[in-house]
């Protein structure tokens, strides 16, 4: 381009470039732009693309070119951003996506369930055979309480209000669940560790309370919330296993891609796990420690909540039909 031509082109564009910043800010703020605004954005995109192409050629590495590059990148983001429809997005997530991922998790879920059962049995056997090992699993306070014939859950509500107990419990459970998932990145070994440790502690505590004649009391305590709580932790573990498997046996071109797709898919299930654990926390904080809450009611609550969990994971709770095809989930 000749010097005169370049000057003419530059002079004719300066004012447009100056106005572009404010216009892009306006377009970025509009979450639902009109058709006219969309067409304007596309026209701007074309024009700016031409200007940037010339600027890169005739004045590379200058500040003006860098500004144009930024504006072009910003406009690209505005044009390609996804439409916002939270209601439809949530419906699709809960009705179709989570059930599809859950269906894929069935086999890892069986393995994780088996691991939990085996580690629980191991915990039981260890404490039955070597009673002194309970010192590694429980605090001194808990051990002395059980030895005196009192479960640690007794009088829990006298110490703290149910609301605080619930929040503490649900926070802890969610952290365990998320950790079981995230540690799957270590080729699944981290998940195995968390699940085994939880199983071991559960078995050990069951054996210890059984030795002191409190197994019935413990069962009464965990009936209402325990089934869903353990199931959800197993689901998180299964998601962690899937994450590990994506690194061991990548299904896509690279391990990074495989890991990214597995993480994106399985994290949807974790959202449901977190929601279910909030419910468990409230049951455990309000109903389970209440000595006046009858066993039959605990069974009804436990079974009912378990059915809610099944409905949530299979999507039936959100109107998914039983014949629904488990569609491929977007990465």
């Amino acid at each position: 381009m000749s010097d005169t031509g370049l000057k003419h082109w530059f002079g004719s564009r300066i004012e447009k470039w100056r106005q572009l910043g404010a216009r892009l800010d306006e377009l970025e703020r509009r979450r639902l732009p009109s058709a006219d605004e969309a067409i304007e954005a596309i026209d701007l995109y074309r024009a700016l693309g031409r200007d940037l192409s010339i600027a890169r050629r005739v004045m590379p590495n200058t500040r003006v070119t860098r500004v144009l590059e930024q504006r072009f990148a910003k406009l690209h983001t505005i044009i390609y951003r996804k439409p916002h429809n939270w209601r439809a997005r949530m419906r699709s997530l809960f009705r179709d996506e989570i059930p599809s991922v859950f269906a894929e998790l069935k086999i890892p879920l069986q393995w994780i369930g088996l691991l939990l059962a085996l580690s629980t049995a191991a915990g039981w056997w260890l404490v039955t055979t070597y009673p002194e090992l309970i010192g590694l699993m429980a605090s001194e306070e808990m051990i002395s309480g059980v030895e005196k014939g009192h479960l640690w859950t007794e009088g829990m509500l006298n110490v703290m209000p149910s609301s605080i107990v619930s929040v503490g419990i649900l926070t802890n459970n969610i952290v365990v669940s998320l950790t079981a998932f995230c540690l799957g990145i270590f080729f699944g070994l981290g998940t195995f560790y968390i699940i085994s440790l939880n199983g071991l502690m559960l078995g050990a505590m069951m054996a210890f309370t059984h030795q002191h004649g409190l197994a019935g009391e413990l069962l009464k305590f965990i009936t209402a919330h325990g089934v869903v709580e353990l199931s959800v932790i197993c689901v998180s573990g299964a998601a962690g296993v899937m994450l590990g498997e994506s690194l061991i046996r990548p299904r896509y071109a690279t391990r990074r891609e495989s890991f990214q797709i597995a993480a994106g898919k399985t994290s949807r299930v974790l959202l449901m796990c977190a929601l279910l654990l909030i419910g468990c926390g409230f049951i455990e904080g309000y109903l389970s420690p209440d000595p006046d809450f009858p066993m039959i009611n605990r069974v009804v609550v436990g079974f009912g909540y378990f059915m809610v969990m099944i409905g949530a994971f299979t999507g039936r709770l959100f109107g998914r039909s039983s014949q629904a095809y488990p569609g491929q989930i977007r990465p």
Binding site: F10, G21, L52, R81, K82, L178, L270
Partner: protein, 246 residues
């Protein structure tokens, strides 16, 4: 290792590529440090102001007066501010946080788009792994050794941290419509950059650059003539050329 920052190049339908510069460990750490201070200060302020409102004194002994109201209005929000600062702000601010804004970086997908809320939550969920064993050692090591400076959370969410420095509208505001007497736009840009950096450059360097620029812009100027001019005179001459008054 290349000295130049890695770039994310995205093909567009216009045929012009979108080029984004990927932020390295330094910018990431800088943004994180700012955010960490902000969330810590906010959480601590909330805790102390809330506790003061309950106890009506500077004592931290809440005692029986507090109970669940104290826990839910003071403790839980303080923890929530500290722990949920990143995920909530990144979702609301479309991949930015106050710290990232100050450091001039933002989170984008590998296609240069604003990440979805789900991707941003996954990115933050993996802080559990990135922060292991202490002080984000795993995350930092990952950032240093990966080609695109990504931590595990970014790998999981398919995101990158790119520079988003507003090169500032000043660069465009100071532009003038070229006339027959001015530098051509490319040289004028160099002149403007030279004038902006004038004070930071060593006297010999700025004189040398100004002479080079002036002789390139106006071949009629003899090198002997330019050699005799002082730094201030050279600066004034560059200013006149940039403004089209030469």
């Amino acid at each position: 290792m290349s000295a130049q920052a890695p770039r994310l190049t995205i093909a567009s339908v216009t045929g012009v590529e979108v080029d984004l510069r990927i932020a390295g460990p330094g910018s990431r750490s800088y943004a994180f440090t700012i955010d960490w201070h902000i969330r810590l200060i906010l959480a601590v302020c909330w805790f102390f102001i809330g506790t003061f409102a309950f106890t009506r004194s500077f004592s931290l002994q809440v005692g029986e007066r507090g109970g669940s109201t104290y826990a839910f209005t003071v403790l839980v929000p303080a923890f929530a501010i500290y722990l949920l600062y990143h995920p909530i702000l990144e979702v609301i601010m479309h991949g930015r946080t106050p710290g990232k804004r100050m450091a001039g970086v933002r989170v984008v997908t590998r296609t240069g788009d604003v990440p979805t809320a789900g991707a941003l939550l996954v990115r933050n969920l993996f802080r559990i792994v990135d922060s292991l064993p202490v002080f984000y050692v795993v995350g930092l090591a990952c950032v240093v050794f990966t080609q695109q400076h990504t931590r595990i959370g970014d790998l999981a969410a398919g995101t990158l941290l790119v520079f988003d420095t507003a090169e500032s509208d000043d660069s465009l505001a100071s532009l003038t419509v070229p006339t027959a007497n001015t530098f051509n736009p490319a040289t004028a840009e160099l002149g403007r950059e030279l004038l902006d950096r004038w004070a930071q450059l060593a006297p010999e360097a700025r004189s040398h650059l100004a002479r080079q620029l002036l002789s390139r812009a106006n071949p009629a100027l003899s090198s002997a003539e330019l050699e005799q001019e002082t730094t201030d005179q050279l600066r004034a001459r560059v200013q006149r050329f940039v403004a089209g008054e030469a």
